[in-house]
Each structure stands twice: as C-alpha cells, then as structure tokens.
Point group: C2
Chain length 629, copies 2
Amino acid sequence: MRLITFSLKVFSFAGIIGIFVLLPVNCTGELHIVDFTNLPNNSLDVFTISNIGNGSKRLWIHFSAVYVVTIFICYLLYYEYRYISSKRMAYFYSSKPQPHHFTILVHSIPVSVESSVSESVDRFFSEYHPSTYLSHIVIHRTNRLRSLINDAKQLYGRLTHLKSDDTQQKYHRSCCFGLCGRKVDLTDEYEKQLVDIEKNLRLEQSEVSSSGHKEARAAFVSFKSRLGAAIAFHLPQSSNPIEWVTEEAPEPDDVYWPFFSSSFMHRWISKLTVVVACITLTILFLVPVLIVQGLTNLSQLKTWFPFLESILTIKIVSQVITGYLPSLILQLFLKAVPPIMKFLSSIQGYISHSNIEKSACNKVLWFTIWNVFFATVFSGTAIYVVDIFLEPKQIPGKLAVAVPAQASFFIAYVVTTGWTSVCSELFRIIPFSFSLIKRPFTRSTDHELEVPSLPYHKDIPRILFFALLGITYFFLAPLILPFLLLYLCLGYIIYSNQFINVYAPRYESAGKFWPIVHDSIIFSLVLMHAIAVGIFTLKKLSLASSLICPLPIFTLLFNDYCRKRFLPIFVAYSAESLIKKDRQEENDPEMSEFYNKLVIAYQDPALMPVRFSSSSDGLNSPLISSAQV
Amino acid sequence: MRLITFSLKVFSFAGIIGIFVLLPVNCTGELHIVDFTNLPNNSLDVFTISNIGNGSKRLWIHFSAVYVVTIFICYLLYYEYRYISSKRMAYFYSSKPQPHHFTILVHSIPVSVESSVSESVDRFFSEYHPSTYLSHIVIHRTNRLRSLINDAKQLYGRLTHLKSDDTQQKYHRSCCFGLCGRKVDLTDEYEKQLVDIEKNLRLEQSEVSSSGHKEARAAFVSFKSRLGAAIAFHLPQSSNPIEWVTEEAPEPDDVYWPFFSSSFMHRWISKLTVVVACITLTILFLVPVLIVQGLTNLSQLKTWFPFLESILTIKIVSQVITGYLPSLILQLFLKAVPPIMKFLSSIQGYISHSNIEKSACNKVLWFTIWNVFFATVFSGTAIYVVDIFLEPKQIPGKLAVAVPAQASFFIAYVVTTGWTSVCSELFRIIPFSFSLIKRPFTRSTDHELEVPSLPYHKDIPRILFFALLGITYFFLAPLILPFLLLYLCLGYIIYSNQFINVYAPRYESAGKFWPIVHDSIIFSLVLMHAIAVGIFTLKKLSLASSLICPLPIFTLLFNDYCRKRFLPIFVAYSAESLIKKDRQEENDPEMSEFYNKLVIAYQDPALMPVRFSSSSDGLNSPLISSAQV
C-alpha cells in the first residue's frame, strides 16, 4: 500500500507543479502569441523565449516566474519530504515484528585456520553482544545448486505439462532427430532424469552445508531485539575497519542470493569496476544518440542521403521524420539501458533486490539526463559534451544558446515517449508480446501465475526526466506544459490502476526512493537557474541574470537543510523508536513463535529440501534443514 | 608523549622523502649541471627542467623519478597510517579511565514549557538508556560570569603585586590625575573592589544556576560504561534528526566554554557564515600577495618607483629585494592568518580547543596552498586565479608554464621562511618580545608560570606546505631539495627540544591530526602529477604525459582504500575495544571513585566557587557547587 501512495506522490507532485506552472506560463504565453502573430512561422519554436527581443521588459515576467516556481517547488519538496518521513515512521510503528529489523548482515569475517566461519561468528557475537545475540546463518556459495534447481524446475514443468496435456506427443525416437531408433516414453524418461537431478541436488546440498570451503565469509546474525541489531549495525565492530563489516539485512524474500562477494577487497574492486563500466557505457551510448540527432535535422539528412530528397520533400514524411522518428529510435536504444544498469548494480555487491533497484534507478536517471538531455541539447560528439563540462564557467552561456533550440524536439519527445510509454504500460504490450513469443518454447505453466512487480528502476527515472524537462522548459517554451500535464494525468490514472490490479510489491520500499526524487528535482532546479542566467545574459538583461544568482545558492542551502533534517530518517531508525517498539512487544506471547521463525528466516532457498519427483523415497527427507540452525 | 612521537613522525617522514628524493635528483641533477655549463647564467633558474630541450630523452629520467617517488610516498603513507592507528589503539588500551570516554555532549534538546532542560535530559536518558545512564550537567551561558571572573583575577593579581613589591607607590590621590584630593590606600581600595566583584560574582552564579533562562539547550551526559556512551553517540537518538543531536565529549580541560551555540539551526547558520567568511578572506588576502609579486619582479618595481632606480642598480640591494624581501613581507601578512582562522573556527560551533585547532589547521593549510602557492605561481589577479580553476582542462598546461618559472622564488621562500621560522621557534622570539612589551602593563606574575602549548594550527600547515613544495618541485628544480632537507633536519632537532623542554600538551590529540597530513600529501602528489602531465605535453613528449595519467588515478584509489581502511579508527573506537576496556575495569575498586569524579568532571569552571579576597566571611562558602550535580 505504501508503494501506491508513494508513487502517487510523485505524480500528484509533478501534476501540481504542472498546474501551478501553467499559471505564469499563460500570462507569459500571451506575450508569445503576440510574437507569434508578428512572426508567422510554421514551427513550434515561435513559442519559445528566443522570440523576445534583447533587453525586453517582458523578460521580467519570465524572471519572476523563475523565482515563484522555485519557491513553490521548494515549499512542496519540504512538505513532501516531511509527509513521507512521517509516513515512514508511522509504518514502522504499526508494523508487526519483521525479521529484517532484528537481523544484520556481517561480511568480511576473519577466519582462522582451526575454526569455521560459523564458529567464529558465534564466538564473536556471544563475546561482544551476549545479552542480545540470538542466532546466525552463514551464507554459502550456492551458484551450482541454483542451476541444478532450475534444471529440476524446468523438467518438472515440462513433465506436468506433458501429463496434463493429452494432445502432446508423448513419445520420441531415441536418435537421428526422431527418424529412427526405438520409441521412448517421454514421461518415463523425464521422471528418470528428474530423479537423477534430485539425487545430485541432495548430494550437492549436503556437501555445501557440511564442508567449509563453500562457506562465504558472510553471515546473517539475528538478535533478540531491534535495538540489539541496531547497536551491532551502528557501532564499528572490529578494531580493523575492514573486518566484521555490518550492513542492515534486507527482508528475507528480498535477499539477492546469487552474488555474495564477501571480502572487503572483492567488494571494493567490483564497485570500482562497475563505476568504470557505467562511465564507459554512458560515453559509448552517445553514438546512437548522435545518429538520432542527424535525423532530427532535415537538411543534414538531405546532405547525407541525397537520394532521399524526393521523399523528404513530401510534407507528411518530413514531419514524421523530424517529429516522431528520432525520439522513437532513441527510445528503442534506451529500452536496453535499465536492464543493463540493473545487471551492473547487481554485480556491484548489493545484497538485496531493493538496493539493486535503488542503485539502478540512480544510474538510469543520470544516464538519461546525460544522454537524452545534454547530448540532445548540445548535439555534438561525446568529447564535445565532456569538453563543455570541463569549462564550468561557460556552461550557462552554452546552455542558453542550445536549450531553447531543442524545445520542439522535447515537446515531440513528451508526446512520443511519454504518451506511448504510459499507454503501453496500461496494456503491458512488451511483456505481453514477450510471453506470446515465449509461450511455444516454454512448456511450463509457472510463468503465467507470477505476479509482476513494478520496475522502479525503469519508471521512476522516466517520470523524473519528464519533471526535469518541465522544470527546465517551463519558462523557455511553455508550450511543453499542456503535453506534460496530459502525460501526468494519464500516468496518474493508469498507474493507479496498475498498482491496484496488476502489480504486487516484491519488497517494502518504505519510502527509500524518495531521496532520489528529491535530489533529482533539486538538480533540475539548479540546472534551470543556470539556463536562466545564461538566457538573461544573452538577452542583455544583466541585472536579471545577476539577480538569479542567489537562487541556486538558496536552493542548495535548502537541499542541505533537508538532507540534515529528513535524510537520516531514511537511513536508520532512531533509538527512541526502536526501544518503544521493543517495549511494546516485550510481553507479547507471539514473540517466542516469531523468534523460532527468525532463526530460519534467512535460510538460503537453494539449501531447502526439494521435492519434485513423484517417487517419495527416503532421499526426500531434509538432509540439511536442521544442520544449519 | 604521543604528541611528540606524532609530530616527530611528520618530520622524519618528510625527511625520508627528502633523502630518497635526492637520489633520483642527483642523477637528473647531473644532467642539469651539464646544461648549466653550457648555458652559464647567474640565476637559479638554470637548474630547472625548463632547460631541457623539447622531446629530449633525458625527460624520461624525470618521468621515472615521478613514478618512483609517487610509489615510495604512497608506500610510506600506508605504513605511517598503519603505525599511527596502531599507536592510537595501543594508547586507548593502556589509558586509565578518562571522563571523555564515558561522556557525550547532547545538544538541540527540545524543551517543553513545564519542564527544564535538566529534567528533560534526565527523563529522556533514564527512559532510553536505563542501564547505562549515570548523570548529566546542563551547560549554562556564562559569558558575563567569565568576564567578572577575569576582572576579579586581574584585580587579585594587581593586589598581590602591590603587597609583595615594596617599591610601588601604595597611595594615590582620589581625583584630578592624582594632583589633588585626599590620599587613598590602594591596597584597601583594591580589596574593597575585589569583595564587591566577588559578591556580584556569587549573586550571578546563583542566578545562573537557579534560573532556567540561562540554560543552554545542551548538556554533558555521562554513562556508566564506555560502550553506553558509544551507543548513545552512534545511534540517532530521536525520530527528529535535528533534536537530541549527540557528539563525542572532549576532555574536561579541553572544553571551549565561551561559545555554546546549542540549537541545530544556530549551529548550521554559524557554520555557513564561517564558510563564507573563509572564502572572502582567502580572496581578499590576494591583494598583499600581489604587491609582493610586484617586488619579486625588479623591472616592474623600477617602472613603479622610478626614483629608486639608482638604489636598485646596486647589486646587493637588488639581490636582497628579489631574494629575501618578498617572502618576508608575505610572511608578515601570513602571521596574522592562523589567529584569524582559529577565531573563525571557534565561532563555527566546535566545543573543544582540539577540534577548533584541527579545523583551523585545515583552514590555514588550504589558505596557504591557495594564497602562497597558486597565487604566486599564477601571479595574477584573484579573478584570474579563480578563472583558471573554472577551466579544469587547462590547469595542467597553465601549471606547466607557471610553476617552473617560480622555482627561484620558492627556493628563497624555503630559506627565508623555513629557516627563520625554525630558528625563531627555538628562541621563541615573538612570544618573548610580546612578553617583554606586555610586562610593564600587566602587573601580575601569573603569565610567567603558564606553560605554552604547541600551536598545531600554525606549525602543521607550515610543514605540510614545505612538503608540498618539495613534492611538486623535486623533479622541476631539484636544487630546492638540499635547502628543504636542511630545514627539515633543523626542524627535527629544534622541535624535539621544544617538545621535551618547552611545550606542554593542553589536550591529547591521539593522532587525530594525521588524516589532515595524509590528505595534504595526497593532494600534493596529484598536483605534482598534473604539473608533470603539463610539462611533458609542453616538452612534446606526449607518450610520457599520457603514461603519467594513470598515476593520479591510482593515487586517488590508494587514498580511497586508506580512507576505508584507517580513517574509521580515527573517528570512533570499535565495540570490540570498548567492551574489552570496560570488562578490564569491571571489578576495579577504583571505579567508584572515578564515577564520583566523572559526575562533576564537566562542571563549568565559571560556576565553581571563587575565592580571592582575604576576608573569609560566610559568602565564600560554595553556593552552587552541589546544586549542579
């Protein structure tokens, strides 16, 4: 439920900005229309600030719009932050005992030759947290096990499918593409294979859990109280800061099992590698963007492909090419980015799906801003864009020249990308067509039953990018606002429906995505101020451009205040609230039952006993379920 | 004792660099001497890299020197950091129970109308830390009290002086500059005044401690164990992050009582104000530096002051002016900086002398690097220097042109500033002359008895600046090294003497200054790499300049590793060590006595009972000493 309200916040927030922003825009828009009648022109560019003469008094309306909107957005941001943090606290107070509040993840555990990881964890926490330490589960490297389980699952799916569906061919010939050889009963063969795999699986499971060399040097450590877990998490545990490193545990279902890099050095190096990979991706990605830029410019296209000239002179073709095609092509490339970023985040060393998505969300956001906004605005080579940012003094001037020129592109972008993405979200066209394509190849019925979870790392950056467009363009080209507003209204309706009827949350984000939203809006504001400074300098209104200067400073101060005032709430719960919660449940009879569950909550699913085959022999009895506790 | 070893580290470290650096320098120096014989010239500039031809093979020796020295310095830095952090741990383990390990400072305490600060502190910590909470002392605003005490002290000093010294005039006439009126006994009058002041003082003391409106919203809270204090310090206490903010308490003698800004907003605003003041000071300070730059350039001086031409043509005068005078003038201006920076740090909201000095040390360091190094190197207006840093891409190129040109200035700087400062340190000329001047005006004998403490914020930045000069110039103008080495050897001998015989530490720094040293050396290395890139590009050896590029990246990675590996040790003690220490003393019979002391350790000295006047009436009995606990 918190998810719904949280994402609705984003929309209603952006919506309110839109409506409010429309107001000053209408009065300045009137002036633009006057300009429009004076300069009849067929392009959307007439609505932009470029048409106002140098030093014109009308620029002061734009100036005051910048001030009013900045103050209003800051006011909204403050109240949103306060509201969400109060919601977060309320959610915490009202929640039932949850395993991840009582548990921490410890990694970089030092091991001596004579003792196992499990023993040293036990010794360490019994020694230094005797009153609160409850239990621990050492993490094992179970990549091979997981692939075995997947095989078994697939086989089992195929088998069920075969049994339930009478129309299927149940025999095949044992050799030569089914052309010769004797007939074999497929059902029997699959069952035999399944039994084999399960046997392997159990052998592997017992090997993993009994021998020490598959132990990662990391463990989930559970405590008797929330305060105990918080103390272990907040205090540096060991005198050597790179040993016994603690982290908050995610929800048990949220743990990302496949990648457990447990040593400090390993995590550090993989983090650095990912940072380098991200930068490389961002720079290499500019190549398709530049091709797109070529397409938006009709005359350049004519020089590149002279044989197309006859087609390009047809009005409708040229309109489609300049208006829709570029952003559609860009869109196709951009579709590949969120999965790549999610993969990069997953090898960065995060231990939960939620953290991976949060990190990917950040990556996608900055990637989008860089590659869609800046690369489009400056429409130059990668080196050229990097160059501009190496000369910070000239940024406002260059932005002022380049940003208004791309207004019509971004209006088209809102229409194509925004509207289509929201509509395709309603029908979920891509997952639908994917499942249509996949269906003939996968014979299992599992996939249809899985409820999808919202891909935060894909949707939040997209909405934030539209917010950035709205904030930066509202005073340059107010015409973008009705389109944006329509997009947001559509989004509000459609996402409400999706949350209620389609998606199910995989984990509880507890508002942790809000700081990303806040930072991104602050960035948009400062960028808008930089553009405003550049524009007013360009329009020879130096008084206005110097009067804008305090605005980014105050925005950043406001941001600093918010970071101090609200951000700690999103990082950790306070001693006050933890102790209150602990005391509430002190005499709760349900707690002993909860502790029993807690002890096995962070069991690796790959080490759970598996049972697929119908033959229920002794091998199915859990070999290791009790050995772990 | 730790202070001595710590500061010796700085010297021996810089010394080892010098000696080691000399080695590659000698072999490249030989080449310079070859150049020197070819180009006989009277200036020191012939020893610089500027004399090597473009694309010369000999530049590769410089290239390898850059690599070798960087690796060696990083190696040294790592081992120094490790050694100092191990020393810090050892010091902690061997120390007796100290009040500041058991105490935290809480500020931004919320107060309700019906309860006082003291009551709400008591309620909060009894509620949330029942097992470890011991006591608290609310901080009062005692500025008026402190000035009264100072008055009393001064009067008392004068009185003692008068009584002990028979030669002094003990009477004066009561009016008209001692010309008319009746004779008054000075001793009697002073005693009367003293009794008056003491009466006022006691009244004020009782008023401050009894009425609530002089209470600052801050308190020292003591705990029964180190772990208890650490838990209260590390965990966010309140659900509102800007209330109940905790800080580590300084040693009782180290507390800086005068300035207690207790509310979150007040501290935030004063911090911002100080940042702005620092930046303003740094920019305004460039004015005298520019005058100094004019002096270094003899021809410019002649155009400015044509009447001096006859004097300036005398060889010795021109040598003094170009060699010594500029850096001496600069030095005089720079002398005023550390006290100003210390004052700024003191109003920034730090609560201890040690933190104020640490912050001032940082400020002075960056001030020196900016105003002495960059302003001298670029020898332009303030705007010009800021401009250069707004175009980061061009920094290496501009540095490469400007830095070697100023080699002779910096060699002279080492001789004048370095040598003279170290020698004046030995004789402590400035404090000595100050006390000589002050003696006739102050009649008390107190000042002679006070042992001075080392002004870290003045000495550490100076030594670090010489390290920066050494690191940046060793491959450009190796001639600077013998001078620097002599300075360091002198410094080693003289400071050893000063530590043993002159200074007494006012507080235990426990190695907390080392991270500043580490960061500054890393900065010097990266700056040196930037210069090297510029130089090799300038000398048309593009392969070398691109081969240098990985070096700053690896240096920064190394720094990142060190920050993760060692810095946390300097920030807080680990749970492991705290618990070990607590257990050691669990059954120590001396602990109950220590607790009794702990309860009153953080009593404001201004609220202590005072007794100066000889009349021992009932007023002298402590009115408030017990009321505070």
